[in-house]
Symmetry: C2
Subunit: 298 residues, 2 copies
């Protein structure tokens, strides 16, 4: 099976289109990498790029993108609503096919070391690649943002980067890590009252005692109550288990689910896992998916 | 998106391994084709080969396989339990990705014409490629088998082949056609009594008034009642709709479904369709499956 890693770097530029284009061009020029999506937000002044390829190619792409962003973005002049600490703010590597999480952790560390040594940019390893428990959470790593980190990096021992110098240049610092694919999953209820959506969001999310890999909010979207979720590890907290809990919570309030939606991409395995659950499929192997056989090496 | 056609030729040889090997070798040697599976049955004296590739490559492969089988198999000496009329008995083309059923029908006709003209083997187009309604069903085309067809092909006008001569040589005749992917789906019940499985098989299958694209039997497998099914067009009669009808029929008899199984390959889209149904996903596009994006042409 050919190896595919997804990489979703976030850059601190969402306004100057020529800068965004030059960074994306750098990424596209790496052989064996495909850029699937670019989303820029003017208010956040930030761009999120989704790219895929074999591990080595994606690692090279990440390095080149960080290098180009460091040339073009000066964090001393960056303003935006989204928290940030570097020109390339965060670089997650995501295992997609034929690659383990350990492979992605190794890739994050290799790229991080090279960025620290060759570009002299401080690098913090986060999530699955973190070297310390308090650095698993990106919010901890980015605390104080560029301005706060600039004053603390040289003086506070716990802010020492994993790679690179203990001082911030105009490119700031970069968080590099590994994480499972994220699924953005929303469920709509047959009510215009937001309170049941909020209560059910609390029931399913980790922070209030729910599923370990669910973040959830109750919202009102075009007059309809919505439970808006991020599933951060669909193999450990599968989408169908979340859906069944929501159905139980919805039913006991005398309401129904009118529909659900996935925003952005869904790994095929997440659909297969749900089909297996609802069809009571036993002994089903990923090898039985016709398309998985097509992508094996000859 | 790259184009993939599946081809599942059936050969009238399931005993002489060297003959099977030479036919499969012929198929493997066509550039751009991958042989996924070979299943030989000694009692049937028949082998079924599953291969995939781009349409032109798969068409060439089918022609070469038919040519090799005609050299190595003499139908005058073939005996086996399975009905058959030719050395290469039946060749279905199946659209898998980036290919329509019409493309597969065109491919069946091109290969059929070439087999008739160059190899002088009578060819009958069947299923979606049929040129007459009575030839859609393979059983009609193969009526009388090799021996019966030999005496009728020159004398009965309705047995005139679509391509090739109106006489049978030692290679017999070949049915070439196009059909959707077939899913072999079995559901087990919590009983050792076969009669509910038989009754439910009758409820779901086309021949007794059930779903149009379901063939079903009630069986006893290792002491457990099983509904054994072929779903012959999963986009028109989806797996989840069959499962829900079975659950209703099982429940009203006071029984439960203990598990189900897919034998052989499942198209990823069938799993996605089931996930969409059970998760109430609306507005979901195949483009949202991450793996579908990976296989697009750059």
């Amino acid at each position: 099976m050919n190896q595919i890693v997804e990489c979703v770097p976030n850059f601190s530029e969402g306004r100057r289109q020529e800068v965004i284009d030059r960074i994306v061009d750098t990424m596209c020029q790496v052989h064996g990498v495909r850029v699937l999506d670019v989303q820029s937000d003017v208010d956040h002044n930030r761009s999120v790029v989704t790219a895929v390829g074999a591990p080595l190619a994606v690692g090279e792409m990440a390095f080149q993108a960080i290098s180009t962003a460091a040339e073009l973005i000066d964090m001393n002049h960056h303003r935006g609503e989204h928290p940030r600490m570097g020109a390339t703010d965060v670089v997650p590597f995501v295992p997609v096919r034929g690659v383990t999480m350990a492979d992605c952790v190794a890739l994050a560390r290799q790229v991080g070391e090279r960025v620290g040594n060759e570009l002299r940019i401080p690098v913090y390893l986060y999530e699955e690649a973190a070297t310390r428990p308090d650095r698993r959470e990106l919010a901890n790593v980015r605390r104080g943002e560029f301005e706060g980190l600039r004053s603390e990096i040289a003086t506070l021992p716990n802010r020492l980067p994993d790679f690179g110098p203990a001082e911030l240049g105009p490119a700031g610092a970069t968080a590099i890590g590994a994480r499972p694919p994220l699924i953005a999953f929303n469920v709509y209820l047959n009510t215009s009252d937001v309170s049941p959506a909020r209560a059910i969001a609390r029931a399913v999310r980790y922070s209030n005692g729910g599923f370990r890999f669910v973040k959830a909010l109750g919202l009102l979207v075009e007059g309809q109550a919505q439970i808006s979720m991020n599933l951060t590890d669909y193999r450990s907290t599968p989408i169908h288990r979340v859906m069944e809990l929501i159905r139980a919570e919805v039913a006991r309030r005398g309401l129904t689910v009118t529909r659900s939606e996935v925003v952005g991409l869904l790994p095929a395995q997440a659909a297969v896992d749900a089909a297996q659950f609802y069809l009571q499929l036993h002994g089903f192997s990923p090898d039985q998916i016709l398309e998985n056989r097509l992508t094996e090496e000859s």
